[in-house]
């Protein structure tokens, strides 16, 4: 229960930071994709189920506010949470390099998905331009934020786990 509330609060906070807070700051051209970072991190730390549920909720929220069609962002966020869950289950991530690489890859895949489905089909010409103007700046943000946020998020996750275990013991 505590975990679910924590997740909901995190998603809402990330969503508002991303869409309302950063959007109001005029000199930031490109906003960091916080929802993606949260999805990716919990997928990696907590596994497939948490990753995809957080992804699904994040995507759905974005869809409700900004998507032309519902389900469009939910699908990709969810896939990213799930995919990182699989990878997190295979390897034990101790150093930050693989984590950062995975974060960058997730961000790249997300943007490629948006480009392929939303832009290429409508005849957008140069991929290079979008790579330079949107994808790369966003990846730089992702890189920084993963470095900053990974440890705290992991600590939060461990703390939640601990409190859950305590509760479980009480009932036994």
């Amino acid at each position: 229960m505590k975990r679910i509330i924590a997740y909901i609060l995190l998603i809402l906070a990330a969503f508002m930071l991303q869409n309302n807070f950063f959007a109001a700051i005029k000199w930031i051209d490109c906003t960091p994709n916080l929802l993606l970072i949260i999805t990716f991190m919990f997928g990696l730390i907590r596994g497939k189920l948490d990753g995809m549920l957080i992804g699904f909720a994040s995507g759905l929220l974005t869809d409700f506010f900004f998507g032309a069609r519902i389900g469009y962002y939910a699908l990709i966020y969810m896939a990213i949470g799930y995919g990182n869950g699989i990878i997190g289950g295979l390897f034990y991530m101790e150093s930050s390099l693989p984590v950062v690489l995975l974060g960058l890859m997730s961000d790249f895949i997300f943007n490629i998905y948006v480009f392929l489905t939303g832009f290429l089909l409508k005849g957008a010409s140069g991929f290079g331009y979008y790579l330079k103007k949107i994808i790369l700046p966003e990846m730089v943000y992702t890189l920084l934020l993963v470095l900053i946020l990974y440890k705290p998020v992991k600590a939060l996750s461990e703390w939640l786990e601990k409190t859950e275990k305590k509760k479980a013991k009480k009932f036994v």
Partner: protein, 282 residues
Amino acid sequence: MNKKDSQFQPKHIFLILVIVCVLLLILSSVSSRINSRVRSTINTVLMPMQNGMNKIGGFISDKAEEISELKDVRDRNEDLEDELAYLRMEVAKYQLQEKELDSYKELLDMKDEYPDYPTIGAHIIGENSTNWNKTVLIDRGANDGISVNMNVIAQGGLVGIVTAVYSNSATVRTIIDHDCMVGGMSVISGDSCIVRGDLEIYEEGMLILEKMEKDADIYDDYKIVTDNKSSLYLPGILIGYAKNITGDSNSLTKSGYLTPVVDFSHLDSVLVITQLKENGEY
């Protein structure tokens, strides 16, 4: 994995959710009415918080701008004599007053240019997060009488069109959005053209102007307004000025660019025209 959760493995939930997503995608592309209810509910709950976040962001943005401005002023101060300080203060005072005057003038102009259309003022409280699209969220919704397809203007020009309405807010697709196409015409000749948004071109502050007939009486610096034929946009709203018009290679049409009158990077309040274009005119 083998005993405990044989019924619901993450794999299965994932598949179910994928199917849900695809169904939602199909449903929402077929009918836009299905999702508007859910959207409205979520929107009403989150709206006050979003508004607050937006205000904090705006505050920080303003403060940062103030700080950088202060730095400029200090640098200049070093080069000048102390005597000038008094004079500069005087000038600054006048500048402030002039600015105030300008904004009043602007407000008056805006009202004069569209006397026929009833409007509601609104603030922009959010922007699309994904960097790809240029849609914004405004703080007026169904409760204020906003509905889908209402035109949005600011600074005397067309900003965009309302694409989704919630109870207390609405989404506006701006004309610089990749998805956006507006029928335009020259004020002088009435010859028609299409104004299309493009992220790459907007980088230089312009939109694409295309599908003009070769002989159309549209040349550089001509005023382009929304045309009469469009089913969504009210006629006669200023969009911008034609620029760099050249003939196309097919020698049947010509195209060029359009400089919008609205400065989209410094947009924080807009006017929504509450009059809808009658359907079925075109």
